[in-house]
Amino acid sequence: MPLVVDLRAPETREPSLVGGKGAALAMLAHHGLAVPPALCLTTAAYEIFVDGASLRPVIRQELGRKNFDDMRWEEIWDTALRIRNRFLRASVPQAVAAALAERLTSELASTPLAVRSSAPGEDAAGASFAGLHDSFVGVRGIDEVVAAVRSVWASLWTDRALLYRRELGIDPDRSSMAVVIQPLVQGEVSGVAFGVHPTRPGHLAVEAVHGLNQGLVDGTIEPDHWAIDATTGRIAAHRPPESRRRLTLSAAGTEIEDLAGAPAPLDAHRIDEITAALRTVETVFGSPQDIEWTIDAGSLVLLQSRPVTTSTTDESDKRAWYLSLTRSLDNLRGLRRRVEDDLLPAMDREADEIAGRDLESFDNRRLAAEIEDRRSTHERWVDVYWREFIPFAHGIRLFGQFYNEIVRPDDPHEFMNLLGGTPMLSLLRNRRLAELAAAIRADPQLASSLQLGELDDPDFSERVDAFLDEFGDAVYGNRAVFEDRRGLIRLLGTMAAAAPTEQAFGAKDVHEMTAAFLAAVPAARRQLAEEILDVGRVSYQLRDDDNIHIARHKALVIDAVAEGRRRLAQTPAVAEELTDPDQVVAALRHPNLVVEPATAPVALEAAEGIRPQPRQLVGQPAGPGVATGPARRITGVDDLFDIESGEVLVCDAVEPNMTFVVPMVSAVVERRGGMLIHGAIIAREYGLPCVTGVPDATSRIRTGDRLTVDGYLGIVTVVPRPADEHSEDRRATD
């Protein structure tokens, strides 16, 4: 099979050789429609590459780590990141590079190019998915083309593609990728047109922007939108964007220019021309199509055509929401301003205002209303968290992808070292605790009085109060973490008895790693690199901090519910202490209501006569290193204060409000998976081995089991504690 073909040649209409996009372009050229000249690196080149670098077993191993239905989106992203890094580190075979160089020299030597993904099957009728794989514009010269080709190949395995693996039939043995290479047409106006309007039956849709199409396709630039009556061809509606902007080529890649007051990019005549092209293309392919187009020197040029994109109306399909998390740098800049300047200050202001209300002065009915008010305020901020803060976390991913493409490191998560050392609230809290522990360590008299449970040192007591003033709002589950001051004192005693822990990387290390990274970035892209790193750092910091800010609102709910419980404890109608806030509210409103406490759920029983015992559990590698120690399973606030130095933290999900115990542990094991979860982030800050995404970790591992945590391979080996020590844990699960 040929490695490089010209898409104008007749044999190139075969999707298994040139992919869906390539075959469609060849078909358009064959029917005399205006398309840019294009070469196609065939699927044969991909096959030579993946087989030469033995990448198929790597893909298979990464995809087989656990059942796909058990993977969280973050784990899928990590999986894609690891596969991508292996692609980036593999050499493009000499035969492929030579075949490309030969054709580029003669035809496309010095012009800026577009290097586009073209997967067989991605645009098959009935299964068309736009934007799952990557394309690059403004690529210049053979070295950049080879690098872009490798990135396009890797994008066969993006997190987006993995989400649609069933529809795409993803299988390492059968999946392949062709690459279309075209001179970049730098049209004055560009856009897309949809053969079926996504929301208005009986209509077509045209969207257009000034400048390059890339900004529209990746969602950076909002287009003008027209709905066209499919029968009459008349314009039925025009929706202009909030502001018109233009994407153009620059030395660093692309840049955005504001076009305040610019006219709409299309007039009625052009819209007719595009609509006519859409109908012609539909005739060529025999089914409604979506097209990308540009207007170059006054003439309409078609950039690609595919069957109308499959859209889902199934609201339970959350994949569209996940895809919306992939944000451009420009989008993240806007989101950062909103989060930093508006949302966080507003959240804190509201918490301050609520905290100022005097609960004791409220009668029972007013208190019930206050509990409901606080709960709805908390829920409102949780909603903001999902809509605005979670998408902002994509800043970490954007930097990770950029870093890996420049550095191609051995460890695909090395980029996180450059994000570490930011002034996160949780790290500040841990430093304060470390200072208190150091004070105990330096004062044997204080240490021994604390051991006896006495806190008679007024200076130290004042410092503990100051700590609680600053960080006392921490919440875990439905309880305030530091509600029992004795627990905090015990924790400080344990910390003081052990050697002080330090963060893995100091400011100097981070500074040096940053300098080395920036030196590796080509000069033209250095400013862009600095900006992406800056957004990544803020995103990383907020990923932790936002939870601590939100916890203030949860703590305010807990305070009000606790006040209600305190009053109800003296009411004869209430059988026992109520755990459900709804019951507290009801009992406050109706003093004669008889309320029974909720019953606890019954634990699942193991199969009769057979006792399952974990020996080796596979999760995701999330912090490099190997450590051995006894397990400490966390099921509630009290477990946090029982942690002994050197134990392995085992929990369902490490929350920012409990990460103060991390400096004491030797490793972290978590059921929830992903590299960007709090457990992984904080473990990395302290250089601890970490394995996440371990299925049923907290139900299979018991406190006291001896664990070896292999953070390189993502494996936890379990040696059960002796049988006569089982009683404590049985009690805990009864």
Partner: protein, 149 residues
């Protein structure tokens, strides 16, 4: 909870579907393995197999009854690394007592009817591995032990 089938289900499937197991024995610390036809009792606590009285594995088991048995469903393809499952049974081997002979033949010959003449030959010894623990391996490295209390 995980979407994976339970390890007990995987074990039961392996012990039902697979015809052969690798039997591990030793002689004076020298390890030895051999392929044997096997069948599991419904409660999975015993694995039946048979061997000639003069075989090396029989001699080894007479000297030390401790043994292991590996059953797996690999297909000799790269996908085995993530798709194949294996179970190792560890326990003590003993000869089938005369009053257990009917049980043995019912279970063993239902699975391996073509071995009837072999099993009924005077030189053949019917045996059972009394399992104390199974180690079930999935996804190449995920290991769960199933202990009989």
């Amino acid at each position: 909870m995980s979407h994976d089938p339970s390890h007990l289900e995987i074990l039961r499937e392996l012990l039902t579907d697979q015809l052969l197991a690798v039997l591990g024995t030793h002689h004076d610390g020298e390890p030895y393995t051999s392929l044997v036809a096997f069948a599991a009792t419904p409660d999975l606590k015993r694995l039946f197999f048979a061997t000639g009285r003069a075989t090396r594995k029989h001699a080894n088991l007479v000297a030390d009854a401790r043994a292991s048995m590996l059953v797996d469903n690999r297909t000799n393809r790269p996908a085995d690394f993530t798709e194949a499952a294996a179970a190792t049974a560890v326990g003590i081997v003993e000869e089938i007592a005369p009053d257990e002979r009917t049980d043995f033949e019912e279970v063993f010959l239902a699975k391996h009817p073509h071995l009837e003449s072999f099993v009924r030959s005077p030189s053949c010894v019917p045996l059972q591995l009394r399992v104390s623990v199974y180690m079930v391996v999935t996804r190449f490295q995920h290991v769960i032990e199933l202990h009989f209390d």
